[in-house]
Symmetry: C3
């Protein structure tokens, strides 16, 4: 007598939610916030509802955390639900060599929704592939941390009354911080101007920068000249300027507006700590945001944000500055996560998460899939597909991303979303397993139909394909290169 259930939604990337869905989350969160504030019964906030009273959240944390885990667990308790927790899988089944894929299938029989934190990029996506219950990404390696971004946006929206056309400076470890990656995608989608202030050598990763420009329609504009800059993206001299309606190009700022945007005051400075667990060096030169920094006129109305925990990059004396909103940010974690959990569990009658009915739509890329061990593999050493325990459960699985001119394709790992770059000395080779033939380059791959795509194996170079048993193309390796350059 079970009625047809809506499909299971997973929140692995902030891009798994459309702009409209994000607004839905915020409406529900606002309701909870007001309820929490009302419920001083008699003393302080108290569990506000029994909405989730028969549900269980599993916290599956493979990395240290206090804040995120306790915030989720508090949200579940305030919804009237209950928690099961594996807070240190180093002392759990993982120590016996169990794969994430097996763990998540077992946990899916215990809980109704699961939040996962993992040191590997893309781990949450792999978990979602195997999970029968909604998976929420609580941070996976350097990849994404979408619920932190929801809290960040909710806080900004509460402060600035809108999410549109903001100017946000982001400071610190832009490379290692998953929080930043989810955040910049969301900012771009709401039409923000992003001002990167990276620590030396900690610029936004190349693939994030490229996605901002190619997928989210960011323009790189010089902070000094206001001119559009095709040069060194992510550099300290560049702003990312975006439109809030990516598909309505008319709304994208015109070059004559760039000067205005460059002059505009900053709405928020978002500070992040040095993600030392993701770097070999334990000490690096690092920017410190303090009263002196904020004395600059352009920051006079800038909210100071930080996902916490902080170490030294955000001066303690700012705690009393009216612009500091980082503890507010942490506090909003509870109602925002209450909203997300209850929506994923379909506990609201009139509100739900519709799959991309408007706003942002997931790019409609073809997906290439081959087993691990066959053909090209994700080059990101920290990607979940490169974890020996997961080899049998993951796949070489890539989005085939075509550029706007439809002239060139690249491969983006479905799990960690980094692009596979061609080597300077050798180029991708596509092997046709039915015809036993090789072809150079990926240029037309995006338009190959799915039923043919499954017979193709991509190799990083022709020689790799030959090693795998294919006949070299006529004219050999050089011929391949020639053909491609022709």
């Amino acid at each position: 007598m079970t009625k047809a259930l809506p499909p299971t939604r997973h929140i692995v990337s902030i891009n798994d939610l459309s702009n409209k869905e994000i607004e839905t989350v915020f409406e529900v969160a606002q309701g909870f916030l007001e309820e929490l504030a009302d419920h001083h019964v008699p003393y302080r906030i108290a569990r506000s509802t029994d909405l989730a009273s028969k549900f269980i959240l599993a916290s599956l944390f493979y990395e240290p955390s206090t804040r995120t885990r306790l915030s989720f667990e508090t949200a579940m308790l305030r919804l009237g639900g209950a928690n099961i927790t594996s807070a240190d899988p180093a002392v759990s089944s993982a120590a016996k060599g169990e794969s994430l894929a097996d763990t998540i299938r077992v946990i899916g029989n215990y809980a109704d929704v699961v939040v996962i934190r993992h040191p590997r990029d893309g781990a949450a996506r792999l978990a979602a592939e195997y999970s029968q219950i909604p998976v929420i990404n609580g941070g996976d390696g350097s990849h994404e941390h979408p619920t932190q971004t929801l809290c960040d946006l909710f806080t900004l929206r509460a402060k600035k009354k809108t999410l549109k056309n903001m100017k946000v400076a982001i400071s610190g470890d832009l490379k290692g911080s998953r929080t930043i990656h989810s955040f910049v995608y969301a900012l771009a989608r709401f039409g923000a101007t992003i001002d990167p202030l990276p620590a030396p050598g900690m610029e936004l990763p190349e693939h994030v920068d490229r996605r901002l420009r190619e997928e989210f329609h960011s323009r790189i504009v010089s902070k000094v000249s206001g001119a559009s800059d095709s040069g060194d993206a992510g550099s300290i001299d560049a702003l990312y300027v975006t439109a809030d309606q990516p598909h309505q190009l008319a709304l994208i700022p015109e070059p004559e507006d760039y000067g205005v945007i460059v002059q505009k005051k900053t709405d928020a400075v978002y500070v992040t700590r040095f993600q030392k667990e993701r770097w070999a060096e334990k000490e690096r030169p690092y920017p410190k945001i303090d009263a002196k920094f904020l004395r600059d006129e352009k920051y006079s109305e800038a909210s100071v944000m930080h996902p916490l925990p902080r170490v030294n990059e955000l001066d303690v004396s700012l705690d009393k500055d009216r612009r500091a909103i980082y503890f507010q940010q942490a506090a909003y974690g509870v109602p925002v996560r209450m909203a997300l959990i209850s929506l994923l569990l379909h506990l609201h009658k009139s509100q739900s998460l519709h799959q991309f009915p408007g706003g942002f739509a997931e790019p409609d890329h073809s997906v290439y899939v081959q087993p691990i061990g066959t053909g090209i593999q994700c080059g990101n050493a920290n990607c979940i597909v490169n974890d020996p325990a997961e080899r049998q459960y993951a796949a070489n699985k890539f989005y085939i991303v075509e550029d706007e001119a439809r002239a060139h394709c690249k491969l983006r790992c479905v799990y960690c979303e980094t692009d596979v770059s061609e080597d300077a000395a050798s180029h991708f080779t596509v092997a046709d397993t039915t015809r036993k033939s090789l072809a150079p380059g990926l240029s037309t791959l995006a338009r190959v139909p799915a039923d043919r795509l499954k017979h193709l194996v991509i190799y990083p170079s022709e020689s790799a394909a030959v090693e795998a048993g294919f006949q070299p193309r006529e004219g050999g390796k050089e011929g391949g290169k020639k053909a491609r350059s022709g």
Copy 2:
């Protein structure tokens, strides 16, 4: 006004439950399973009952676990109860040197029922001796894991519609796996034929093999000839053939049936991982169960089972095989544990765990008890009595097990249930502390009345007794040997 409470039941061994009680657990579990399935409210399974709404389960885990602990905690939550958890006693009071006996007495004031996992064989029995609340063994060293066996049997019963007269192959580390030990006892009690497929050197422990034959009436039958085999028990060539009514010998298969049994198809293949935490070597040759193995006609209808976590011994490609039921096995952990907890807490009006009213009855052995430091001590180095922290709380405590012919006795440790073997060169000597005399061997010990037994101290050899201050027997050590051999 407290009414007389029923005695506290502990589930340390699968043999603490009679066959009828196991059936009761399964009836209750089946009810919960149906309730859980009904309660898609509105989305998925949800907490199904408030039966245990005022009760607390304590999880006391001295060894890594995700699955077992979360399964118990989920069961308690789905019953409407609550949990307190000590998931890594390495960072708890145990680190301060606290004994299990003290811990359990304190926890008994907090919770209503406790599940304990411990690296030492027999730890759960020691805990039960000191506990005022029901103790459930969640796995103790290489000894037993009875609730896993309940899930296993429940899964088999759901699949095969009966527990009787099954043929089950058990593969892998039969020596180190506590899961296997509980499982084979239960199988034997329900009249199964057991087909051991051990990894080299990982046969069933001698004491398990002996109990199967001596206590559970297993017959060793050659897989090849079908003849009864008095030889190398536990070897890869032997089947254990049992009757489902151990005390009705008429039902035990006749030798002429052995051929039929040998030919019978296997109902289930039960795979276990290499218990590397219980072995010095971290790598060993190990059987892998995969599609090729299962292609054998005799496995064509064999359910594939695994207690999980798996490492490499069970091929991932089997996940899609119709015979694979290991994730089902894990899922059934919740209703089965709900049933066990609620029965131990006496939360059902019409169903309860009666102490052995039928089916299997605990052997009626005399128990020998002396303090640690006096006389013979359990020779299993991993037994809880050999843990320095527990010395003062445990005892040299043995069942005096007489063979069927009542010609010979042996000692079985009450905690870890391993037998103490006589040394080839020296024999047990019994000291009478009132008469200050020594007697060789244990032959008549089983029939010594309890009030006299307490004055006797058993030594591993006459010389050990002499060292402890007793006068050597006339004729000295040789005499003792002579007397015994006479």
Copy 3:
């Protein structure tokens, strides 16, 4: 519509509760105890109330614990509330370098009350300074463990029917045991005679001894002669004799009563384990309390107490002695903590914790505050102010404690409550930052008004003040000394 809330109360020291408030806690605890005993529904104790049903307790444990944490969490569950737990902050945000001050501000947005355990003395006070919700000290370094003392007193009161005029022997590591420190303050406040039986070199810390004598009006009396002894306080030959009404000096025993007190039988022997985590040596000679020790006539009616866990200092054979009440002590942890939590959350209509309306009143000391790095700093290396992660959040903050004759002042760290001692060779120097002048000693500091006090910086010596940029006083260092001695 939020009505004015009562101020947030923190329980960091047993001295944060007045005697009358302690009695209130006990009355409420007694009610819960009876309710728990009644609720054998049908089996054993069960969650007794829904008083805290919408509230969350956060357990923030930076040190190993099973008993204290599970006792608090059980108390919260039995109140109908829920828990969030960070049981091993070594694998949490603390590992990322987060300060306690930041953590507590975040947790304050999740939970309604927090219990904290930390290896640093004074950590709970620092946490309380930053917390918007009630902080309960679950043990901070060697400083205090006030809820253990509440359980101890409740147990003593249940056994002896009164808390007044008891004679209590305290055995073992009196220096490292925070339990002992909270306990002796409470005993002194209820007029007890304290008989210290320290392990060699583990006497009560000097500052605890001094507070007993100076603040809690203890008299040191020779155990042998019964004479008042101005000599070696805390020595094995000395008793602390106190009055139960510290401000009614008439009730303090007269010297002629000392003999009677010395002869009086001991009401309780309180045994503590060697706090090896607070000592460099892992082995030390240590007293063992056993049947032989208790055979002494003066202990014939002495309850044997221990906060547990025990190691070897309390003989297991005493478990069956009628005087042993240590498991009772542990059991009372639940109702006592239920009472404290529910009172801090204002869940009782007719009972509350009034801030010191009677009984014990906190000494009315002036407080000196300067930032870390300026002037004198707490000399206790284990004080929270000396934790590098907390430097920016803590302060050099001292009570200026004047002796009864108002002739001399000393500095007591507000966090760890140890006194800063003057060096034999150099004396405190007070710098006036407005007048740029130095003055020797602290003698009149207690009477400096607060608005002037904030301009004064205390240095450990004149030379330290000079190093910090102040002009040496006329006549130089010697002059300073001379001035002081004059």
